[in-house]
């Protein structure tokens, strides 16, 4: 993960715009749209999404509204280190109430996808992906005492007990962008 210095006290829009033009193949907003936030440009910064955002409530800096604004003016590098998008609980209350149908949740997740391309991805997420690939479960536990305690068989009827299904899942994952990016070892 490239370490950037974050957003400076004064934002130099000229530098931001020039970097967007010269260094990136596409504008940040175009990438975000491509990564799923189709209606990004409709945002009018009303702030309704931020008013009910759990992240904004607990003090994350780049919650939905601000992240969208930063993207609209072409910021990217400055945001790569920020944990906010990875803290998004995907609650989607913002999507429900957005008066412009921007679906701020989609922007948060498109930002995650953009960060992943820059390998700005938290270790926990890598671990989850690895676990998904290895076991078919993002949350996976080897100790099965709990299952036994409540009278269930040790293995759930999932990829955990079905080798063919696990291989199928791996085949699928190998044919997605996850494999293209090479974020986790895949045999």
């Amino acid at each position: 993960m490239e370490i950037t210095e974050g957003v400076p006290p004064v934002i130099n829009l000229t530098e931001v715009a020039e970097r967007e033009k010269e260094e990136f193949e596409k504008k940040v907003s175009e990438l975000i749209i491509e990564f799923g936030a189709e209606n990004l440009l409709a945002c009018m910064q009303c702030g309704a999404c931020a008013s009910i955002c759990p992240l904004a409530r607990v003090g994350f800096e780049w919650y939905n509204k601000k992240l969208i604004k930063a993207i609209l003016i072409g910021m990217k590098e400055e945001l790569l280190d920020d944990p906010t998008p990875w803290a998004c609980v995907a609650c989607n209350r913002c999507t429900e109430i957005c008066p412009r149908q921007v679906a701020p949740f989609e922007v948060m997740f498109a930002m995650r996808r953009l960060m992943v391309e820059e390998f700005a991805i938290p270790t926990l997420a890598i671990e989850g992906l690895r676990s998904l690939y290895e076991h078919g479960h993002a949350v996976y536990m080897t100790g099965r005492e709990a299952r036994k305690k409540v009278g269930l068989p040790e293995n759930p009827p999932s990829t955990d007990s079905d080798e063919k299904a696990l291989q199928d899942l791996r085949t699928i994952l190998k044919n997605t962008k996850l494999a293209e990016l090479g974020l986790i070892p895949m045999e």
């Binding site: 990875w86 609980v89 999507t95 992943v116 709990a146 305690k149 409540v150 699928i172």
Partner: protein
């Protein structure tokens, strides 16, 4: 003389989609479902070979097609058998339905997904969807049947309901919708069917702080759960918190204990998934259907088995 139109009773059958948290963290919820549904006349298919939905922090954070492909494989397991999926986890409910919504809305995504599925000899047409256990109980089984089926009722017991975010929004993507997602009634009515009081409280629809927020910054996550717990305590002084989401269950149960140990709260409210509560009321062994918790629930279970508060 007798005159009637003979109707064939449609047998209810769902693929039980477990998800990671219920499989490994809270298998008592799984056990509760395995007990209650057959008893209510709902057949369960094990959906052998299911996997993670995929949850938000994994493939959905990488790309949309990958997300949809993993979801589609799970949904296809039901579609092959002509049945819908059913889950007790809001995250699974959200991820699977959002993925399905994206595939149905955007044929390009759907065809890319099917190209990938073809490699394992599968396809997904968008027919099978994922239902939420709460909705199955509310709509398919029905409140009357639930009332008939219980041995113990919650007379005099006040519950705080926690439907959870992915039970509500974005309402557009879900197969079943609350009339007013900002004042949800389904879980309240389900609890009332068991004889409980399930009043409104101000932070009823607020996020519990679980999920990515919890893993990214537990301290910040606890702010939300604490606000919620305090609201429940102050406004309705609930005997019990009932949720229909396995993530909310873990957060409200786990974090409560942590907050208590840190001296940030000085009360304790037991937390149950609705299917656990129903299973207890139906007379199943609490050890099996509600045996795993951090915040003690023995007292409230005892109270229920002894005929409620009255």
């Amino acid at each position: 003389m007798i005159s009637e139109t003979v109707k064939e009773e449609k047998k209810l059958k769902f693929g039980l989609f477990l998800g990671c948290n219920i499989s490994f963290n809270r298998p008592d919820v799984e056990q509760a479902m395995r007990k209650i549904f057959p008893a209510l006349g709902v057949e369960i298919d094990d959906l052998v070979g299911q996997s993670c939905c995929p949850t938000w922090g994994t493939v959905p954070s990488i790309d949309i097609v990958g997300w949809c492909a993993v979801a589609a494989r799970n949904l296809a397991l039901g579609e092959e058998k002509g049945i819908d999926l059913m889950t007790a986890c809001n995250s699974c409910y959200g991820s699977l339905n959002e993925a399905r919504h994206k595939m149905l809305k955007n044929p390009e995504i759907m065809s890319k997904v099917n190209e990938i599925l073809a490699k394992i000899g599968k396809k997904y047409e968008g027919k099978a969807k994922c239902r939420h256990v709460a909705w199955v109980l509310y709509k398919d089984v029905g409140l009357e049947k639930i009332k008939e089926s219980i041995k113990y009722s919650l007379d005099g017991i006040t519950v705080a309901v926690q439907p959870g975010c992915h039970f509500l929004w974005p309402s557009e993507v879900y197969p079943d919708k609350e009339k007013d997602p900002f004042n949800p009634k389904v879980l309240r009515e389900l609890c009332e069917a068991l004889g409980a009081e399930a009043p409104y409280y101000t932070k009823l629809i607020d996020c519990c702080g679980m999920g990515a927020l919890r893993s990214t910054d537990p301290e910040k996550s606890f702010i939300l759960v604490r606000e919620k717990l305090e609201c429940i305590k102050e406004e309705i002084d609930a005997d019990l918190i009932v949720t229909t989401c396995s993530s909310c269950l873990i957060q409200l149960d786990d974090a409560q204990e942590k907050l208590r140990k840190e001296g940030k709260i000085n009360f304790s409210i037991p937390v149950l998934h609705y299917v656990q509560l129903l299973a207890i009321c139906m007379g199943f062994d609490p050890q099996q259907v509600a045996g795993i918790c951090v915040t003690p629930r023995d007292e409230v279970i005892k109270m229920i088995l002894e005929g409620g508060k009255r």
